[in-house]
Each structure stands twice: as structure tokens, then as C-alpha cells.
Symmetry: C2
Subunit: 337 residues, 2 copies
DNA sequence: TGGTATATTGCAATCGATTACATTATAACA
DNA sequence: TGTTATAATGTAATCGATTGCAATATACCA
């Protein structure tokens, strides 16, 4: 591999000059600069990023922890992250944890071993091992769309989940629905509680009775949506409206309802959450909450870089606006169902 | 940050011993080893990966070039890559190029600057800039699902695209279809040619006339599928069967056909390619070619690591088996359409 | 117990950059 | 032209690890 030495030889200057010519050209005379550039060109020299990182102490990369790469919603966030990071000269390390704590610890450890300067977490778990917990104090961490559990409060980029599900619930209540079902994702997270609270508060103020028995689910997947529908429809008071805590669940729910011969939305209304791309193109198009995932990803980079650079944060919680998209999967209640 | 020095101090040994205790424990006596471990524990020491990478010359990471992160098919490949990489102690750098050559060059440059040891390319473009082309000679590169254009032949992990589209075409011909439309993705790639050849050869041997005029498209997106359907249906001889070159296109095609009041598959059959997750859950479920994307991603890692480690490759082209999934978006021709 | 083989450990060079400090060249000015 | 301020360059230390070689400690054997 060609190193700076080779360039020195070709240009007849010292390593210091080469380094300066490339990083701080203004410190080097125009003549020498040209000579160095030509030597770089000739030799095909590329500075060894790792070596410079050792010296500067910055790896110029961020690591992103994803609970499950197959969820297309995360993709939009990651895309935003990747773009913003690149604009700032950072590269993105990807870690798919599959929800396994061991993997999380391992990947989060990258920040501790100088492989990454900061961590963006797309899940609610505390990503470090108990052993490393105290080390995590000094590590730049931001979470997106979820709040990280545990003692330490990390900055978070999120949606007003409470208000968003309120909107959804009101939307359905306006259509005269009285009997509801909920297919949730992971139930141990803060966003689950927020979303549930939003719904229940609407029910309470509208005088709609709701039993926790009508909450099913447990994972953010299409299959969970199918299973959830089967569970709900087996109950005594079948719901006429189903709130799904993400679009994958809603997709599965719609699919399963239709398979069972139940019409959407004529018999049962279904609403989702996230607005993944396909939601607009299924039959019927899904009523859902649009999260500005791309922008949220970008914001996460902005915030984590502020922490890295020691810029004080204006606030530790960035709340993004949501947008309820009323499409055709929800409609007036069917009294005969 | 705690460095090896701190551990030395606590354990009362030299840096060499600490390094060995951690990397080659068998070279250190049990007693000292324990002392070192305890010191590591106490100090919360984490070896600086970058520093060790400088010395060893290996970054232990791979960079993945994705043309467009919003295509869910890539996700499955990336997931396979990420898993396999992690199992081998490698981490994955993600680069979303958005098809922009400048971005590609920049990201591919990571391998040249020692930031990554190898490159996995999910597109057909030659990823290096003209300037770096000669440097690319010594760089471990593998492509997945696409063949990289240019003089140099890189190892490739791919499907037998020719045979796969043959199967699709035969499947439709068996249903007595005579009038076909194709909605393609990027038309300048090898896989496009392979897929087209497969279809045309079936047509030729079956005596079906086909005009290139019936090939529309140009991008692998849902919107392209919609546009493609509009283009095809505006033609004099409307097709009764449409071959889409990926599932996103097919999704858009099905959506648009239904929107136009054309039934799928009763009036028009639609087939896709890739088998993304949702394809099984739309209405109607999509007939498509299942690519073992996850396995292909894993294979890509295996191959690129072989190149990195100087293990001679058995073959430079790994062909994976495809699987045609006959679902409900395709059926017998409707003579009255 | 003495001597050799082997297991442990430390010293110091090294990886490929960056950068503080020292030195030399150039410019500016009286 | 001599002096001083400034620009340009070089020397060598440094970042935090790894590792070849040398030195020392222990084990083994006669």
C-alpha cells in the first residue's frame, strides 16, 4: 500500500508537509502544494483513515442499532441517518440486533472501542451490558421513535404518540364505532404506553367502554397482524374497528380479515401507524399516521453530532409533527356486523 | 479514555503482556492473566479498535453499496450480509448511493482508505472513479444480484435470471396468454438483458410475437409500476399478462390496474420478481420469483472474506436457485378482455 | 545441584498518520 | 542592507495498540 512516505519521496518533502497540503492546504505554499498533489496523483495515495483516526481520536462514524432490519419503516429512518451522516463526513455502521441483548451489547460496544463516535438507537432497550453501564455515561447516544429504558435519560427524537393515537381514535369514534380492538407491538415500551393512553383517554371522554382483553399482539409484524385478527374475531364482542400499532400489523390484519370474508372498511375499519410506502398501495389503502421518518433520522444525526462535538442541546426531546392520513381502510361503522 | 497503560499500571505488567493476555491468552501465565483481567474490569478498559487496526492493517469492516435503501428487497440481502459479517467478526458500513456516481466513488473510496477491507456492491455500476480505477485492481469486491459493468470481472453472487424469467413466461404461456407487456427496471444492466432474453426465447419457441414497443418502465419502483400499466393499457393491443421486473413494480401495476377497474388476474395477469415480504399479503397475492436474498447476502460475505484472506475462489460466479411462487395474481387468459 | 529447554515477561520498534515545536526561507520595512 | 515579522518546511514526539527480539523465570532432566 502506498503511504505518505511514498508521496514524500516523490514530492521531495517531509511527511508534515504532505499531511498539511492535504488537510490544511493554506499552510503550504502553492508551489509545494502542487508538487504534493501531483505526487499523490502519481502514487495513487490514499490517506489511511484509521491511522488518522487513532491520532485524532475520532472515527468519523456512527453506529445505528436496528431491532429488525426487515421492518421497512426503519429503512426510512436509516436512509435519513445515512444521508445526514454523509453530508457531515460521517459514515454509518449498521447493527441488526434481532432483539438479542447480546448482539446489542456487542454492537453498542463499538462506541466504547472507538470504532464509532456515537450511537443511534432505534429501539427502547438499554443497549449496553450491565458491565458497561457506567461507561455508557460518557457515550453520545440518541434514540429515535422509541425511548430508551433505564436510569439514564438519553436524548430522544420522537413523535407525539399520545396525540397521534388520539387522532386515530377520534377519527374512528366520529364514524360511530363503539367496539374496538387493538393489535399492539412490543408491550414493554414507552411508545406502547403513550399510544395506549391516547386511545384510552379518547374512549374515556367519549364514554366508550373498553376492556384490556381487547388488546392483543406482541410484535410488529405482518404475521402478528394476522394472528391478532384471529384472536380478536374469536371474542364475544367482535370489534368493528381495529387499531394496529404499526403498518405491518395493519397489513396482516387487512389481509386476514379479507381472507375471513370480512370486508374492510365496510364491516371492520383498520388503521395503522407509520405510513410505510406500500400502505398507500394496498387494497384498501391504509388509514395511518405518517411519521416523518426521514427527517427524524436526519435530526438524530444532528443531535448525536452535537453531543459528540460538545455543543449543548437546546432540548433533550425533539418532538416531530405527525400527520394522520385518512385513506380507505377506515369508514362508518356497520351496525349489522 | 482508559488505555492499555492504565491497565498496565493496575496489573503491574507491561503493555505487551496486557495485549497478549487479551488476544493470545495462552501466551500468558494463568496468574498474570487473572491479574490483567481484573485490571481490565476495574478500569473499564476497552481496546481501541482503530489503533489495533492501524497495526494489523485490517479494519474488520465491510462496506455495502446500496443503490436505494428504500427498496425492501435490498433489506433482505443486507440482513444476510450483516449477520454473516458479524459472525466473522466484521462490521458493516452502509452506503446509500441514490444512484449518484459521486456518492458511489466516495463510498467505494472507503476501501481505498483502509476504512473497510472489502466492498459488497448491490448495483451494476462500476463503483470507483476513473481516477481510482487502477487502484480497484487490488480491492476485494463482490456484487450481489447484479453484474458490475466494465473491463474487470468481479465475482458475482446471482440468480439465474434467464431461467427464472423463462419459468415466468412459460407459466403465463401455459395459461394461454398471447399478448404480453413488460415493465422493466433499469434497462442498462446485465440482469435486464438476461431476464429479457429468457422471456423472448420462450416467446420465440412458442411462436408468440412480441414487439419491443411493449417494454416500458425504467426504474424499480411502485410508481413505475403504475406508470407502466398506464402506458401499456394505452396501447392498441393491450396485454393480458404483464411481467414486472421486480415486486415493487408489480405492486404498483396491480394497484393501478385495479384502480382502472381491470381485474387481476381475471382480466390481466401480473407477475413480479424478488418475492419481497408484502407480496404474499397483497390482494391478490403476487406470483413471483423468490430470490434467496438472505442466503445470497451471506454468500457475498463468504466470498469477499475469501478474497480478503487470499483464499482462492472455486468459481467467480455463484448462482443461486430460484423458486417460482405461483400465487393468485396470475391465471388463465380472458379471451373477452 | 547444574545445565538445558521452555515458558513468561519486558523493551522498544512499528503501524501510518497528525502536530507541537524548532528551524529556515521569504517578505516587509526602515 | 540589516533587522524583524511572517510564511514555509522539517524534526521528532505522539496517538494506542501489536509484536520481534531479548531477557528472565521456571520446569525438567541427569
Amino acid at each position: 500500500m502506498t503511504t505518505v512516505k511514498e508521496v514524500c519521496r516523490l514530492a521531495g518533502v517531509s511527511t508534515a508537509t504532505v499531511s498539511r497540503a492535504l488537510k490544511n492546504p493554506e499552510l503550504v505554499s502553492a508551489k509545494t502544494r502542487e508538487r504534493v498533489f501531483k505526487a499523490v496523483q502519481e502514487s495513487g495515495y490514499r490517506p489511511n483513515m484509521l491511522a488518522s483516526s487513532v491520532k485524532t481520536g475520532k472515527s468519523n462514524s456512527l453506529v445505528v442499532l436496528v431491532p429488525n432490519l426487515s421492518n421497512p419503516f426503519f429503512l426510512r429512518i436509516i436512509q435519513g441517518i445515512e444521508q445526514a451522516a454523509h453530508e457531515q463526513g460521517y459514515s454509518v455502521l449498521l447493527g441488526d440486533t434481532q432483539g438479542e441483548p447480546a448482539r446489542e451489547h456487542e454492537i453498542a460496544g463499538m462506541v466504547l472501542s472507538n470504532r464509532a463516535d456515537g450511537l443511534i438507537h432505534l429501539d427502547h432497550s438499554f443497549p449496553f451490558s450491565a458491565n458497561d453501564a457506567h461507561l455508557a455515561e460518557r457515550v453520545p447516544v440518541v434514540s429515535v421513535c422509541e425511548r430508551i429504558m433505564g436510569d439514564k435519560e438519553f436524548p430522544v427524537i420522537e413523535l407525539d404518540n399520545y396525540a397521534a393515537t388520539r387522532s386515530l381514535a377520534k377519527h374512528l369514534v366520529n364514524y360511530e364505532h363503539q367496539k374496538f380492538g387493538i393489535i399492539a407491538g412490543q408491550k414493554d415500551s414507552q411508545i406502547h404506553l403513550d399510544r395506549l393512553a391516547g386511545i384510552k383517554d379518547v374512549f374515556a371522554s367519549e364514554g366508550i367502554s373498553f376492556d384490556d382483553d381487547m388488546i392483543v399482539g406482541g410484535a410488529y409484524s405482518i404475521e402478528m397482524g394476522q394472528q391478532g385478527v384471529r384472536d380478536l374475531m374469536a371474542k364475544d364482542n367482535r370489534p368493528t374497528a381495529i387499531l394496529c400499532f404499526n403498518d405491518d400489523i395493519a397489513l396482516g390484519a387487512v389481509f386476514e380479515l379479507k381472507r375471513m370474508g370480512i370486508r374492510v372498511p365496510q364491516d371492520v375499519s383498520v388503521v395503522g401507524f407509520d405510513n410505510i410506502k406500500v400502505s398507500a398501495f394496498i387494497d384498501p389503502p391504509l388509514t395511518t399516521i405518517d411519521q416523518p421518518a426521514h427527517e427524524m433520522g436526519r435530526k438524530a444525526v444532528e443531535v448525536v453530532l452535537q453531543i459528540i462535538n460538545g455543543v449543548p442541546l437546546k432540548r433533550s426531546r425533539e418532538i416531530f409533527p405527525y400527520n394522520m392520513l385518512e385513506r380507505e381502510s377506515s369508514g362508518p361503522v356497520n351496525p349489522d356486523f
